[in-house]
């Protein structure tokens, strides 16, 4: 039994190298781990260790040989006592196993020459029939969602800075410590990176953490765990290890807090496969979608907004109001133009629609609510009806969520468009502090009205 020793590669890109030196001669016995030769590339010199034991029967490639192809036979190892003179060297390289380079069938790319998304209109009223409706702030709705889910499932816990004894920096976790105790509501030190990782690790073992970031600006410290640990592990483990976790907190511009406290992260997280991204506007959506997020077996980034925490909306009573993640809501019916927005962007869209109505322009408003997965069928259905679209977003313009919506409309509803899709976004600048400059940096209702007039030619 002879064994062929092959020219090794130092990296997946190396194709050939120099056999610099033999450290064993023909007839020498070789133990596993013995260094038998040195090979060189333009980058490095490496030692070749024996992986089998025996006697070095034949040196096929003498030292000093340049351009030795990877996987060609460089020597023959014989078993102890074998007649080495009888060894014949096969002339061909033994790299017959090319399965690593096997051609894989190409998977269809996502290029769509023809529309691939069919239209599916969004619904407007999802409240249970006969439910009692009451007015509630977004803040109360979020608190109730967490409390109801904590009552239902003892594996749900809340963690974050000031969430327990202080009752939340923005009072979203008000009363949770009193009801559930310190074992379910954890005040953390100011260490976003560390506690996000701890929460993700606990979710690997089946707990359902709700991690509050005091604002999403601080979650940049933790973004490695949100993306590399929470979003990718299911895929990297071949489906073994899910991560049922919610990362939530206020996102985007508050008021007069400057550049480092005013960023909208929707576009960032919406870029990542393995995450779900929710950005609600109304209190009912905040409640129904946060409950869905907590029940979801996947990591969900739940983007709130400080400005709308105190706004009140109709919410159905009852502790089982859960909304589907990934479905847009028809906020207002119209015929002349589609306004697509979400989160605080909706405040500009709603304000503009009221003003436009007085001008005789009927705007339909689609509230996306979920950024990923995005309900493009609902947008397409509306655009097929109105033939015009303006997308409203508070975040920056480049590579924005609005850019994605525009591209999707172009790919899936191009033939229905009577005007280009227009984006109304925050300005392409870090958020200034001065009151007048801050105002200029944010989109306005007037911006939306102007955009609608442009696409309707009115």
């Amino acid at each position: 039994m002879t064994i062929e020793i092959l020219m090794p590669a130092l990296s997946p890109t190396m194709e050939e190298g120099k056999l610099a030196k033999w450290l064993k001669s023909e007839g020498d016995s070789v133990e596993i781990g013995d260094v038998i030769a040195e090979i060189e590339t333009d980058k490095a010199t490496m030692e070749v260790e024996a992986v089998d034991e025996g006697v070095l029967g034949k040196v096929v490639v003498p030292e000093g040989t340049e351009n030795v192809a990877v996987n060609s036979v460089i020597a023959i190892l014989a078993a102890e006592g074998e007649n080495i003179d009888a060894i014949e060297v096969s002339s061909t390289s033994s790299s017959s196993d090319t399965s690593a380079q096997q051609e894989t069938a190409t998977v269809a790319a996502t290029v769509a020459a023809t529309p691939t998304v069919s239209a599916q209109a969004a619904v407007s009223n999802e409240f249970p029939a006969g439910a009692t409706i009451k007015q509630m702030t977004v803040r109360e709705a979020l608190r109730d969602a967490m409390a109801e889910e904590m009552r239902k499932d003892d594996q749900v816990y809340v963690m974050g800075e000031e969430v327990a004894e202080y009752n939340g920096a923005y009072k979203i976790t008000q009363g949770l410590l009193d009801e559930f105790g310190a074992k379910r509501v954890y005040d953390t030190p100011i260490t976003e990176h560390g506690f996000a990782g701890i929460a993700v690790g606990s979710a690997f073992l089946g707990l359902r953490p709700v991690v509050e970031f005091m604002t999403f600006n601080f979650a940049m410290q933790a973004i490695d765990h949100i993306i590399n640990s929470a979003a990718k592990t299911l895929y990297m483990s071949g489906g073994q290890l899910g991560c049922p976790i919610v990362f939530r907190g206020p996102n985007g511009a508050a008021a007069r807090v400057g550049a480092q406290h005013s960023q909208d992260y929707a576009a960032w997280y919406s870029n990542v496969p393995g995450l779900k991204v929710v950005q609600p506007y109304t209190a009912a959506d905040a409640k129904g979608l946060l409950k869905a997020a907590i029940r979801d077996p996947n990591p969900v980034v739940f983007l709130e907004n400080e400005i709308i925490y105190g706004q009140s909306f109709d919410v159905p009573e009852g502790d089982d109001f859960v909304l589907p993640i990934g479905k847009a809501r028809l906020h207002r019916e119209g015929t002349d133009v589609t306004l697509v927005s979400w989160g605080i962007g909706m405040t500009y869209a709603v304000g503009a629609a009221d003003a436009l109505a007085e001008m005789g322009i009927s705007a339909e408003i689609i509230d996306l609510r979920t950024i990923r997965p995005m309900d493009i069928p609902a947008v397409v259905a509306s655009v097929q009806k109105t033939n015009r679209c303006v997308v409203v977003e508070e975040g920056w313009p480049q590579s924005s969520v609005a850019s994605e919506v525009s591209a999707q409309i172009m790919e899936n509803a191009f033939d229905y468009l009577d005007a280009p899709v227009v984006r109304v976004t925050g300005k392409d600048v870090p958020m200034p502090y001065a009151a007048n400059l801050e105002k200029l940096a944010l989109p306005t209702v007037q911006d939306v009205i102007d955009a609608v007039r442009a696409v309707t030619y009115k």
Binding site: A9, P12, I32, G33, V51, A100, A105, G197, F204, Q240
Partner: protein
């Protein structure tokens, strides 16, 4: 456990270091323990040698970080763990997986990116998991596994299940900021976690003396009041004895414990590292005098438990298992193209 004991022998490099483990005795292994340690360590070594060979043949892609030289660390730890304790580490993870009882076939097939791999070919060398064997990765971001491992301990604590999270890191990772964020919370909340710092003397090509202000890494928990000790990571008995102390401490509700396993990696940082930053003599000295497998082997023969010939047979059997895993890893098909779009989200 055997009745005989010997004095703990610190490795030459830190003979003068102050250690919590000072004056502790290391119990001799029983015949059964020594034979198990020999088998488990040799399996890792032969597996890694084969992986190195397959990498050289172009069958394993990307990065490949071998564990050769460090076998006593995971083997000693694993022998002291109880069923259900979790293990998590960074990217030099093949040895940890085999120690956890994961099959050589599944690990090797993941290295070659085949459907029979533990992650069905979608993770590779650095990202492999087995929920069934309580192995939680396999993480490619240096330091991430330390917060995650602390999170496993958080879940143990939350559910009061009596399990301990064994969280490994290298000497290089021990400088990451999230290590100290995790230490702080682990102690604050008394989480059952044993941090094992595998000090193999180099963070890639930078020696400990060049990357750490205090080279006694067992003291890294000092400001959090976390006890730590330096352990001879080349002696599987020392690792086992320290592991028992650390696991017992963490399991009893005292919170985290740090073990600095002083060890050595024979190969470069990864397959494409020629390791020019250290002297050949240094490597030869460790291989010749401190090899973890040779030390067990000599003990087994000296005690008359097995002959050299009988141990050769053990080696041969292991090499057959490894050769079979290589064959499986070469012939097992690549994942079906439809797998590209699976395992991204779980159906809600």
């Amino acid at each position: 456990m055997g009745a005989r004991t010997t004095k703990a022998k610190p490795t030459p490099s830190q003979a003068s270091a102050k250690k919590t483990g000072d004056n502790l005795t290391i119990a001799e292994f029983t015949q059964e323990q020594d034979l198990k340690a020999y088998h488990d360590m040799l399996l890792i070594r032969r597996f890694e040698e084969k992986a190195g060979q397959l990498y050289g043949m172009g069958l394993i892609g990307g990065f490949c970080h071998l564990y050769i030289g460090q076998e006593a660390v995971v083997t000693g730890m694993q022998m002291a763990q109880v069923e259900g304790d979790q293990v998590i580490t960074a990217y030099r993870d093949h040895g940890h997986m085999l120690a956890c009882g994961m099959e050589a076939n599944g690990v090797m097939a993941e290295l070659t990116g085949r459907e029979g791999g533990y992650s069905r070919g979608k993770g590779g060398s650095m990202h492999m998991f087995s929920k069934e064997k309580n192995f939680f990765g396999g993480h490619g971001i240096v330091g991430a596994q330390i917060s995650l491992g602390t999170g496993l301990a958080f879940a143990n604590h939350y559910n009061e299940n009596g399990k301990v999270s064994v969280t490994y890191m290298g000497d290089g990772a021990s400088n990451q900021g999230q290590v100290y964020e995790s230490f702080n919370m682990a102690k604050l909340w008394s989480l059952p976690v044993v941090y094992v710092i595998e000090n193999n003397k180099y963070g890639m090509g930078t020696s400990v003396a060049r990357h750490s202000s205090n080279t006694n890494l067992s003291e890294r928990g000092k400001s959090f009041d976390i006890p730590g000790e330096q352990v001879d990571g080349m002696d599987v008995r020392a690792m086992y004895a320290a592991a028992e102390r650390a696991l017992d401490y963490a399991r009893s509700g005292n919170g985290p414990y740090i073990l600095e396993a002083v060890t050595y990696r024979y190969r470069g940082h990864s397959m494409s590292d020629p390791a020019k930053y250290r002297a050949k003599e240094e490597v030869q000295k460790m291989k010749g005098e401190r090899d973890p497998i040779d030390m067990v082997k000599e003990r087994i023969i000296a005690n008359g438990w097995k002959t050299e010939e009988e141990l050769k047979q053990v080696d041969k059997d292991i090499r057959e298992v490894v050769a079979e895993s290589a064959e499986f890893a070469k012939t097992n098909p690549e994942p079906d193209p439809s797998e590209l779009y699976t395992d991204i989200l779980i159906d809600a």
